[in-house]
Symmetry: C2
Amino acid sequence: MDLSCKSEYALLALLELSPHYASGEPLQIRQISSQQNIPDRYLEQLLATLRRAGLVKSQRGARGGYLLARDPWKISLYDVVSCIEGFDTQADATKAPDTSEAVVIQDVWGEVRQAAEAILQKYTLQDLVDKRNAKQQVDIMYYI
Amino acid sequence: MDLSCKSEYALLALLELSPHYASGEPLQIRQISSQQNIPDRYLEQLLATLRRAGLVKSQRGARGGYLLARDPWKISLYDVVSCIEGFDTQADATKAPDTSEAVVIQDVWGEVRQAAEAILQKYTLQDLVDKRNAKQQVDIMYYI
DNA sequence: TGCAAACCCCAGTGGAGAACCGGGGTATAC
DNA sequence: GTATACCCCGGTTCTCCACTGGGGTTTGCA
């Protein structure tokens, strides 16, 4: 029932990378971590996971960094969360799955899971960037 | 993103109690735990939580036990899960909630949470009992 | 009245995972 | 060739879950 802090960090990092996709200029871990104040050594691990999942690409050496592997509107939140949380393997380790009552409950659990996944699948990174921009627009109007 | 084993145990226990609500005869922990093979000392704690939440009533002393506090169709799965999981207090301890990106992500998290709660709210204990009976009916038909 | 059957409360344990931190290695631009 | 980045591996602390145990108290019944 909880979407962990881990997934949030990963999404924040990818949102940071999204505007830089067009230019092709990589962003360093330190820039992302200081911008969103995420512990940098921790962020490094998350980016490694995202890289292995094929969501970002890395460039080593001086003036290296990370950049999105594909367009921000081709990456859904489900792509991100599932690879970070690692719940694609149907690893539901429930203890008493043999009674008929347990099966009925598992069905409901599955329904909840599916609903959550559907929501995560309908949003892309670009959607979140747009939403953020819209919110900031509102803030400016209030400011004026 | 996970509905814990704890909630499943609690639901199993309440499903066990549901058919006995009409007669008013209490059911002992040992009976429930052996039926659904749940560790009995653990189940005891869960039933205590359910009692404090007003979902079950207990009867102490010899020939005591537990029984539902109200009709099985007046108890939703949300009632059960929320009191066991304790997520009514909006205790979302997220670390970086200040940037505008973080707010947008929190919105999505909230949307997922709401969807999950909606599903849990639409099912009652009685619904699950009926579903289980329907499944067993199918099993019998296959058997014949 | 005694006693056993049940619930009641509180406390601790083992394991798993989350959120970090650190040490060294390796590739690359300048 | 050197500084700057990523890369890999391991350890640490903390929290929570699932579970266990040791006492109590209440109650039905012989």
